[in-house]
Structure formats: structure tokens, C-alpha cells
Symmetry: C2
Subunit: 498 residues, 2 copies
């Protein structure tokens, strides 16, 4: 590559607040600019509350022209820009920069079009994820990616983080359900990336924009693919006597050629935490439960549920319960989707990790996490997308106890590095943000980090967009001392060769 990660621009000279305010006032109305401490406080962190930072100024533009103006002003003045959606992100991607502008996209909240014939929705980035499906429902359509935060999180944030959800095993991540974005560059230019064709012409910058975590530009419009709402959905709750058996059952379902609409695991600590809160009817005697959903026509669902029951039973399930009606199905999922808030009832704080491992490693990794609980002296509940191996360990801690904060941080890092060690990766669907920047050193080699930075620079040569996130410097990796220990690649060497 022609750039390398140590070749970063010198520290920026940041203009003072008055200079920034003057420039912003030239491009957005006064009521869109927040600079007093009490106004800025709500923006100090996103869903990763472990790290907080008050920005220099918050701007809430109302039009695309204003976004272009803000970005041009920041470019001109060399001011860092952090873009924010609903602030539900879990990797600190929207954490403000102390000397920068926090660009909130909340006012871009219009659904511009639902077109049932083409099965697309055209929305602004501040539209809530669930609002899209609600608006599309009159046409028998919905938007498939469903982060647990879907009632609050917005499409812009989903695009920035390439968000997943329970149904992504079958229907794909945000990447697979977005057809086109309008993205404003730091120069205020409008890029229209993607389109209706399965294979857009030219380099696939749409895929780069999705999951770019605010590092390349600011999205002002998104074209979403809608899917026909399945006629029926049912979910099986399967109980297991140990986590290992549940992990093996997950592999067995997939190996049987079934791609369930959802395939989630909760361990006993998680069900015990959630049940008093949600009354989902979970089997509290089970060491782990699986939730396996089937959707489609009545006949398809009947058949798939019967096949899954057989596979789960053969894999050692001690109890199988199929949702008997829609209310029961929703209740089964309510426990899963509310697991994070429920953690708040048993612990002052929780730290939700996000890593992905090969399905074959599920049992091993869950065992190792259990032994880490002893090592770090903190409890951990496991609630996760088992079907695609995407773990969400919830580390329980008290943020008023600085030693617990420190241990939670280490525990989280250890889990991520374990994921890399077994051939997985440090993200599933939450992005890297600032949370996992050290683990990028473990996951990637210098050449790959160079390539990432090189693409980043081609959009943002001075590193103003969401600085100090996602891509670590080599200096940081050297300091972290774990540069590319395992490579984080699929462990092919260990597998029998064809």
C-alpha cells in the first residue's frame, strides 16, 4: 500500500469554539446549534456508557444542504466530526470528540416513500428501524434486520454499524437489505452509491459505506429492500442440560440444511435474569435454552418446525415447547429482546460484548468464558445469535467501583481475543468503534490495517471523520503489545484437507 498507519497527520490545531460557532451559524439556523453544557450533556455517550466525552458543540441540521455546509465548514477549519443517530450503538462509535462537532441526524426522520411494487422504502437516516416495518405493513411488507434496539435505533445508525438482529441468520445484515445510500463527503459532495441492480457498476462503495462507522461521510437518504411479511411464524423453545449440548444442537440444526428465521441461545444466568422481568415462560431448570423460529406459509412452518423438533430432540433437548399462538411467540422473543434491560435489574451496569466464532467452537468458548468469570471476579450472562456464532456475553459490574470497571474492560477484551484465537472475529454486528480498537491489532496484520487506512484517507485525508476509532495506529498496536497474535482467520490449518 502507499500509506501506512504510522503515517498519520500531525496533531490538528483545533480552532476555538467562537470560530466554529461563527462558521456553523453561516450554514445552519441558530436553533440547530447546541453549545451550552446542559444542552450537550445528553450527547456525552452512546449505548457504550463506559466511555463519556462532552463535544465542543452539537449540531442538528434539518436539510441535506445544511449537512453539506457543516461538513465543508469542519473541513475548512480542521474540526473533527462525529455523526450520531439515536445513540443506541454499543461500541462507542458515536462517542463525541472533545474538540469536535457532534453531528446529530435526529431531524432527518421522514419516510419519503414506500413503493410496494418495487418492494423498497426510501427513508431519511433518522427514521427508527421499527417505524419502517410499521409503515410498510399496510402493503404486507417489512424490513428484515431487527436489532434488539429496533424500537429506538435509527436506519442511519444501522447503516453506520451494519447492524444485525435475530432474523439476520436467514435474511442478512443491514448490508444485504440496503440498496442505495446518498452520502455526503467531507467536501460537501453528494455520492449516490448502489442502486437497484444486483451488481452495481464500478467498485462496490455501497458495501464500504455500510458499516463505515462514520469514517467516510454522512448518509442523508437510504433505500431499503422490503420483504413480504411471512404468513406465519412459530418458535420452538428447547431446553438443554448443559450449554455444550445446546451448542451442538445449534450446529446440528444448521447441518440438517435448515436456516431458521432465528436461532438464539440463552444460558441459565440469562433466563434467570430475564424471567422475573418478562414472564416469558422460560424453563429455569435448563442450563441453556434455544429459541428456534420458523417463518413462511402454514405448510412450510409446520414442516420446518417438525424437522427442527426432530433434530433438537436427537441432539438431546430435554424439553421442547412450540409457541401455540402469536402472543406466545412474541412472549418467547420478548425475553430475548429485553435481556439487556433486564440485566439492569440484577446488576448496576452491564457490558455487552460482541464477537463471532465458528459454530463448532460454541461449547468450548462458553466454557472458557465461564472460567474467566472466576479469573475476573465478575458474572457473565450469555444471550446470543447462536445460529451465526455471534456471541453477546453480558458482563455484569458496578460502574461506581473503579476496580470492577477495570476488570470488566479486561474481561471484555479477553473474550474478544478468545474469539480471534478460535478462528472467529471481534465483531458480529456492533462495529468496532472505540471499544474494540485495541483488538483490531489482534485481528489484523499491518498490511490490512494499512489497506483500511488507505481507503479511509481517500475519503478523509486529514482524518477528521470520527477520529481515533475503528482503525488503530501501529503505535497503538505496539503499545497494546499484541499485534496480530493469531491472525483471526478461519483455522483452516487445523481442519482435514480435501
Amino acid at each position: 500500500m502507499n500509506l501506512n498507519v504510522e503515517d498519520r497527520p500531525a496533531d490538528l490545531v483545533i480552532p476555538d469554539l467562537q470560530e466554529i460557532l461563527h462558521a456553523l451559524r453561516a450554514v445552519v439556523p441558530e436553533h440547530c446549534i447546541l453549545f451550552r453544557a446542559e444542552q450537550k450533556k445528553p450527547y456525552e455517550c452512546d449505548g457504550l456508557s463506559l466511555y463519556r466525552q462532552i463535544p465542543m458543540v452539537v449540531v442538528l441540521p434539518e436539510t441535506e444542504e445544511q449537512v453539506r455546509g457543516v461538513l465543508r465548514a469542519c473541513r475548512r477549519l480542521n474540526v473533527p466530526v462525529v455523526t450520531r443517530g439515536a445513540g443506541t450503538g454499543l461500541s462507542g462509535g458515536a462517542m463525541p470528540h472533545a474538540q469536535g462537532v457532534l453531528l446529530g441526524m435526529a431531524k432527518f426522520n421522514r419516510i419519503k416513500l414506500i413503493d410496494p411494487e418495487s418492494a423498497i422504502a426510501v427513508v431519511e437516516p433518522g427514521v427508527r428501524n421499527l417505524a419502517v416495518s410499521q409503515a410498510a405493513s399496510q402493503h404486507g411488507l417489512y424490513y428484515a434486520p431487527d436489532p434488539s434496539s429496533q424500537i429506538a435505533c435509527t436506519i442511519g445508525g444501522n447503516v453506520a454499524e451494519n447492524s444485525g438482529g435475530v432474523h439476520c441468520l436467514k435474511y442478512g445484515l443491514t448490508l444485504h437489505n440496503v440498496m442505495q445510500v446518498r452520502m455526503i463527503t467531507l467536501d460537501g459532495e453528494v455520492l449516490v452509491l448502489g442502486g437497484e441492480a444486483p451488481d452495481a457498476a464500478g467498485p462496490d462503495l455501497l458495501s464500504v459505506a455500510i458499516g463505515s462507522e462514520g469514517m467516510l461521510g454522512v448518509v442523508t437518504e437510504v433505500v431499503l429492500r422490503l420483504l413480504p411479511t411471512p404468513g406465519l411464524a412459530k418458535v420452538i423453545m428447547a431446553s438443554f442440560e448443559d450449554v455444550e449440548a445446546a451448542g451442538d444442537a445449534v450446529a446440528a440444526v444448521i447441518a440438517a440444511g435448515i436456516i431458521p428465521a432465528g436461532l438464539e441461545m440463552m444460558d441459565q444466568r440469562a433466563t434467570e435474569m430475564v424471567e422475573p422481568f418478562v414472564q416469558a415462560g422460560y424453563d429455569l431448570n435448563a442450563k441453556a435454552i434455544l429459541l428456534c423460529e420458523s417463518d413462511g406459509t402454514e405448510l412450510e412452518v409446520e414442516q420446518e418446525i417438525a424437522r427442527m423438533q426432530q433434530v433438537l430432540s436427537d441432539a438431546g433437548a430435554t424439553r421442547l415447547q412450540v409457541s401455540q399462538n402469536e402472543a406466545e411467540r412474541v412472549r418467547f422473543w420478548a425475553g430475548r429482546k429485553n435481556a439487556f434491560p433486564a440485566a439492569g435489574r440484577v446488576s448496576p451496569d452491564y457490558y455487552c460484548m460482541d464477537g463471532t466464532i465458528p459454530r463448532s467452537q460454541l461449547a468450548r468458548v462458553l466454557r472458557e468464558i465461564e472460567s474467566m468469570e472466576q479469573a475476573y471476579g465478575l458474572r457473565c450472562a450469555n444471550v446470543f445469535h447462536a445460529g451465526d456464532g455471534n456471541l453477546h456475553p453480558l458482563i455484569l459490574f458496578d460502574s461506581n467501583d473503579s476496580d470492577e470497571v477495570y476488570r470488566a474492560d479486561l474481561f471484555g477484551a479477553a473474550i474478544l481475543e478468545l474469539c480471534v484465537q478460535v478462528g472467529g472475529t471481534i465483531t458480529g454486528e456492533h462495529g468496532v468503534g472505540m471499544e474494540k480498537i485495541n483488538q483490531m491489532c489482534v485481528q489484523f496484520q499491518r498490511e490490512e490495517l494499512d489497506a483500511f487506512l488507505s481507503v479511509k484517507r481517500s475519503f478523509d485525508p486529514d482524518g477528521l471523520l470520527n477520529p481515533d476509532k475503528v482503525i488503530p495506529t501501529l503505535a497503538r498496536c505496539a503499545e497494546y503489545g499484541k499485534m496480530h497474535v493469531h491472525g483471526g482467520k478461519l483455522p483452516f490449518a487445523d481442519l482435514p484437507r480435501f
Copy 2:
């Protein structure tokens, strides 16, 4: 952006053959270097035989280390490099550079691993597409993307072009079925892009690598996702009295919430061309036929076939015939898959176009193509992926008649620009290559071309990898005189707003 498309490097000073041979001999064995005219002749074009060019030298490396050496040598000597797979590509992406190295990857033909548990295959880029499914079949698995050329085309070429195929409507393009690639940069560095997680950490360079048409690096290993082979597949052949009704039937199938395993259209000119060659049993009285495939379990297929029959019948199908056994199913598809070779029986040459349009525009565009036949004095048969609106008009001409060649070229360009005009794009699955470089000016604005070039430059600052393809200069666009006429974006403005 920080670069713009007019800011290209000055014309390269190309070293002479002896200097290149000397450098190559230092990194690859003599038998891997072809420089005599008769050795180089087979490499003068790919599947787009309209354009031919003999390269300065052909290199056929046998190891990754040799690929790294070749690329480093070319970088050092400022020599253009064009990478080639099986040479079945249809957009001229592998057409050699007169003063460059043609880097053939044919010797990278090992299937390194089929892992049934993880449902992945690890292959070298020179492995044929069909060979993957053949090797995986013993485990009940297959590789879904199936270009018509799958018996000959290789995975490396599929990755370069983001190839599609009949089954991509349901199972996605190459992009959706590749998990990881090893890519060698022009500096000889190894990048491992992607991985097993649904959302790999960092910018999504895997998606950029897939479909990058040899512009960013050379792929030496690919990890493919395998799918369980469906238990059963059946296909409906539906006859229509006019092309318009067939187009509307396609929209009706999709609107009914069905995603067929394949949904293809052939017009009467195409069936007449193919039938004597393949004896597929096509209805030669129909103005157009649709082939609609369903796959899955026996129950699923029965139910979906019944639903599709109902929808097709309601949409005006004059005859419906369901394949009664696997032999008949394969015969129905044989006609579709052999349509291109069959064209050779009725015309000395054919020019296969590739553009994508909204499904709602199918009937209109087919009508306009018909009237263009008069204007350009050439026949055109239509055989295409109707389900995703991906057209493949086959323009029939005689390459010995220079006026016919000229008119075929213009006819093709007119079809692509019509696709843009109705809100579609200039590619479906064949890539841009050199064929569609002028139409990139019609599809995109300057800002987007800038962004493409900027990413290209971050991998290849001197423009040595597959030069003069895919991304046009502004000078070229100015000369072509059609810079961004329509924008090529979904025509939202014309649709009712929500």
C-alpha cells in the same frame, strides 16, 4: 474527494520486453513465461471477442510467492498488469494491455478444503465454478452462484466480476457467497479480507475486492460458502402471447411474495434459435416463455409450484408445463444455458449485453429494443434473468462486416443507456470492463467517478492494474459527450410519495 478523475498519472514509460523478461525470470521459472507470438495468441481476448490485443508477455505463475514477485517486478518497472482467469468474461475485463503483462491464474487450480461442518470450501482462483459443486456433492452441499459458463469459468474470474447466474435471484451473487479472499497487492503484500463472521471488523474491503475487475490486486485463495443441495427442484415453463404479458407475470410472481430459485425469460427469437440445437421442448408458438424454478423439500416445492402456476395463469399464461422429472428439468434449463452458443448457429457472431432495469420496466424496454432492431438493422434475441430485471440481449452480427460491427457496438450502447434512462444500471453481472466504460459516464456523476478512482488509487497509485478499464477519465466522458444524462438512479421522483 481529494483526487479527481482528470488527475491521472502521466503516460507511463514502458520498459522493453528484454527488461521485463529479465525481471520475470528472476521470480518465475522459464516455462511459466510466454513471449512468442504463437504462445500469446490464445490470450488476445476474453469472451468479448469484439476487442483483441496481444500482450507484451504472458506469465502463468504456480505459487503465491511467484505472484508476489511478478507484481513487485511490474510495480518496480511501471508495467501494466492484466489478470486473467478462464477468459470467459463478457465485458473485456481480461483483454490484455499491449505494453503489459498478462497474468494468467490457470495453474492455481487446487480445491484446498471442503469442510462440511462449517459448510465452506477453500479454493484457488483457477478452480472451475462447477468443480466446486461437484467436489462438495459428496457432502450434500453445493456452491450456489451458477454463471451460464460455469463449466469453464473459474472462481477467480467470478470474484473479479461478481458473477451471477440463474440461481442468484434466490441465493445471491458471488458477493453473497464468498466469505474471505487472500489478495496480493501491487507491492506484493498479502491481504486477508473478510472472514467467517457475518460482519467482519473494519471497512468492508472484501466487498470491494469482489467485483473489482482486476483493478486492486490479485486473488490467490477464496473461501466459499456452501449450501445444502435442495432435496428437489422443479421448473415451470409458462408460455405467453406477448412479451409484455410475460414481463407483467414476472412482476406478479415477485409481488406474490415468491422468490423462485430461478425466474428466466426467453423471447421467441431466442427459443427459435435454441430449440433446434438443444431440443429442450420449448413452446415455439409462444412470443415469450418463462422458466420458473422452485427448490426445497418435496412439500415446499409442491406448494410453491402450485402457487406459481396460479399466479402465472392469472397473469395470462397460455400454457403451463411442469418438469416431470430431473431429466426434463435439466433439459428445460439446457436451452437457457446454451442460448449463447446456440446464437452461433444462426449468426456468425453475437454480442451479449448486460444491463439491469426495474421489473416494472421490462415490457417497455423489450418493446424499445425491438424497435432498435429496425434502427440498427440487426436482430436481437432476448434471454435473461427476468426475476431481478437483468437483461441479456444477444445482438446478432457478422464480425467480417465492419459496418455490422460498428452498428452492433452502437446498438449495445443504446441498450445500456436505455437501461439507465428507465432507472436501471449498465451492469447485471458481467462487470464494466472495457465494454461499458463510456456508459459509466452516463451512469455516474463526476463525484462518484472521483470516489471510485480515489479508492482504486489507494491500492494502485500509478494505475498499473488493468488500466483503461472500468473507471473512465473525465476527458473520456467529455469526448463521449454524455456525462451523467440521467443519473441512473431509481426514478423515485416519478413514484407516488408515501
